[in-house]
């Protein structure tokens, strides 16, 4: 089914935020906001949940920590224990201090890269991906709010258009999708 999409363009982030608040108060669902910079405070208004990437970073870091510990335990203690100046490394604990730097570096390595890769995948940003912002100006100075008719069926097309137009927009773009 064809859907009508409104792209309400604002030239200021605060105006968009106020406009979004007004529309949401009337029960309108804002599908998406495209902006050239992060708009602080827009997420709760349009119902975007906070990302859980931080938790993932912690898990990746923990994985790195375990891998580094296990790896060095196997290499330095089990497989090829060394005897340096009459001080053999029999147990992991006795030698742990020497392993701290590499353990730390590997934890950071896994946390940072794991998080970065997840970030790219979740954002669907990968080399060569096509962009999906509705207007090239949304990466310059335009802030765009996307409202879909199908998600706001309680209002007619004219009513929606009317309400969006009163929210401080500078331009309104409508498309059939």
């Amino acid at each position: 089914m064809a859907d009508r999409v409104f792209y309400a363009m604002y030239d200021d982030d605060d105006v968009l935020k106020k406009g979004a608040k007004k529309l949401v108060a009337k029960g309108i669902k804002v599908a998406e906001v495209f902006s050239p910079m992060p708009i602080h405070g827009i997420d709760p208004i349009i119902g975007v949940k906070n990302t859980r990437l931080g938790i993932m970073a912690f898990i990746y870091g923990l994985t790195g920590l375990c891998l580094a510990t296990l790896g060095m335990y196997y290499i330095m203690i089990v497989d090829w224990p060394m005897n340096v100046g009459g001080k053999p490394n029999e147990t992991y604990l006795e030698n742990m201090l020497a392993f701290v730097p590499v353990t730390f570096e590997f934890t950071v390595l896994c946390a940072a890269h794991g998080m970065a890769l997840t970030y790219f995948l979740r954002n669907k940003t990968l080399p060569g991906m096509p962009s999906s912002n509705p207007d090239p100006r949304t990466t310059d100075n335009m802030f765009v709010m996307e409202v879909r008719l199908s998600e706001n069926s309680q209002y007619s097309q004219e009513e929606l258009q009317q309400m969006i137009s009163e929210s401080g927009i500078v331009e309104l773009d409508q498309r059939e999708i």
């Binding site: 910079m37 208004i45 497989d79 060569g128 962009s131 310059d140």
Partner: protein
């Protein structure tokens, strides 16, 4: 929105709208390069090529082409390595530490400083690789299962820690830099008119669209990466200092090394940022975004870290005498008064005396003086590493083995060559990449630009109610 005290000087001068910021940063990239860029690029390329030639000669002939001898087994190679790694530290420090501390002035310098970090660490990485002599077995430094009787790398060795530290630091810095660049590449992509540029920037921008959720993730990822990179910066240079500190050579075997190396790295890194940024702001006419206040902030960091370094030099000297260990005492006595006194004196003048001049407001707000001092500091920091490394080993326990280090033209060629290569990369970065973080600068316009700061207070009040919806990861 964050409120900022009216007394605090604006970070963006004049009345800049969001569009102005985009234009100011993108236009120099989109237009034709100025003649000066071509001249500098050619110059850097010639020097860089000479360096590559010197490296090729070294690899083909052997490390004997360096001026090393039996007593002095480490000289310019490791000096240059530590010098470049040190320079490479300010970039991630500026980005990460200043982000954690919510220092908005970082936006004027973070992008270029991160680029500097990456290129400097490239240059640093070349030295240990060259020192191996056989580049093609460089991967032996990683713990890879093998058929040489299960021969593992030694995890007790600080040199191996260095492998992990430097490679982690380089790769995490690249990721940190690139994640910040993506939205700005998207800006360039959407502005590009020429098909090739459009294609290139659209590949580089990974299809970034600026959706609300993407920005939400962007801010968190930047923050967490900053949180990870901050201890990383400190650990990396501490580990570099362990290369010396865990040895038994008098003059190297010092517990003060880790903090003193980190301070020295920040010191030299900020000096290099000054050198580069003062050039960029002039060439790209970015005076509104990077003005005297930013330069003053950086000069204060240089002054503080320079003072830390100065205190470290003096405590080292004092402790070598106070310890009562003859050999330790001699290493430092010889360093200051022996045949390398001139290197020690240059180090002391450049690193201890020159940053103290920044106490004078007139001097630390003078652009010309800052530029001069930034170069002096980098010369001084090169001498610091030279002094630590060469003066400690040139007179060892056996007087019959005492020696001097005379660099060959290959030593010089490689060092100068890496400076050339660094500038080749850096000039390419300046030419094709946004040198200021466009998206992030836009977030501080309303709190820190001159125009908005001077607006009457009522202008801000209309969005008070929105404050309860404060995103937790804004900056």
């Amino acid at each position: 929105m964050h409120k900022e005290a009216a007394i605090r000087q604006p970070l963006i001068l004049g009345h800049k709208s969001y569009g102005d910021i985009t234009n100011d940063v993108c236009e120099p990239i989109e237009g034709r390069a100025p003649k000066g860029w071509y001249i500098l690029f050619t110059f850097a390329l010639i020097i860089g090529t000479y360096g590559v030639g010197a490296i090729m000669y070294l690899l083909g002939t052997g490390i004997g082409t360096w001026g090393l001898n039996k007593t002095i087994g480490w000289a310019w190679d490791i000096t240059n390595f530590v010098w470049w790694v040190g320079i490479g530290h300010a970039g991630t420090l500026i980005s990460a530490v200043l982000l954690l501390f919510r220092q908005k002035w970082r936006f004027a310098i973070n992008r270029s400083a991160e680029a500097m970090t990456i290129f400097a660490v490239f240059m640093a990485g070349l030295y240990p690789l060259m020192h191996m002599g056989r580049l093609w077995v460089g991967y032996w430094t990683f713990p890879i299962p093998n058929q040489f009787g299960s021969l593992w790398v030694n995890f007790n060795s600080p040199l191996l820690w260095d492998v992990f530290a430097i490679s982690t630091y380089l790769s995490v810095s690249v990721v940190f830099w690139y994640i910040g660049l993506i939205p700005d590449f998207a800006t360039l992509r959407d502005r590009a008119k020429k098909p090739v540029a459009k294609k290139m920037y659209s590949i580089l921008s990974f299809g970034w669209s600026g959706r609300a959720k993407q920005w939400n993730r962007f801010e968190l990822v930047s923050l967490v990466l900053a949180g990870l990179a901050t201890p990383l910066v400190f650990s990396v240079h501490s580990i570099v200092s362990f290369d010396f500190a865990t040895s038994v050579i008098p003059g190297w075997h010092t517990t003060i090394f880790p903090p003193y190396f980190v301070a020295g790295a920040v010191f030299s890194g900020f000096a290099m940022v000054q050198t580069l940024m003062l050039t960029i702001r002039k060439a790209f006419k970015l005076e509104a975004y990077l003005h005297v206040k930013h330069i003053e902030y950086m000069n204060i960091v240089i002054m503080v870290t320079g003072s830390i370094v100065g205190v470290a030099y003096i405590s080292e000297l004092f402790i070598s005498w106070y310890s009562g260990v003859e050999y330790e005492g001699y290493a430092f006595f010889n360093r200051a008064t022996g045949p390398y006194w001139w290197a020690y004196a240059s180090m002391m003048t450049c690193n201890v005396v020159s940053p103290q001049l920044m106490w004078f407001k007139k001097l630390r707000t003078s652009i010309l003086f800052t530029f001069f001092i930034s170069i002096v500091v980098n010369i001084g920091m090169w001498f610091e590493r030279f002094v630590i490394i060469v003066t400690s080993i040139h007179r060892d326990y056996l007087p019959s083995a005492w020696s001097m280090h005379y660099p060959t033209h290959i030593d010089v060629g490689i060092f100068v060559g890496t400076i050339g290569l660094f500038f080749v990369f850096y000039l390419l970065f300046m030419r094709y990449f946004p040198v200021l973080p466009i998206a992030e600068l836009k977030t501080i316009v309303k709190s820190s630009s001159e125009y908005y700061k001077n607006l009457p207070d009522t202008h801000h009040d209309d969005n008070h109610e929105s404050d309860e919806h404060h995103n937790t990861n804004n900056h």
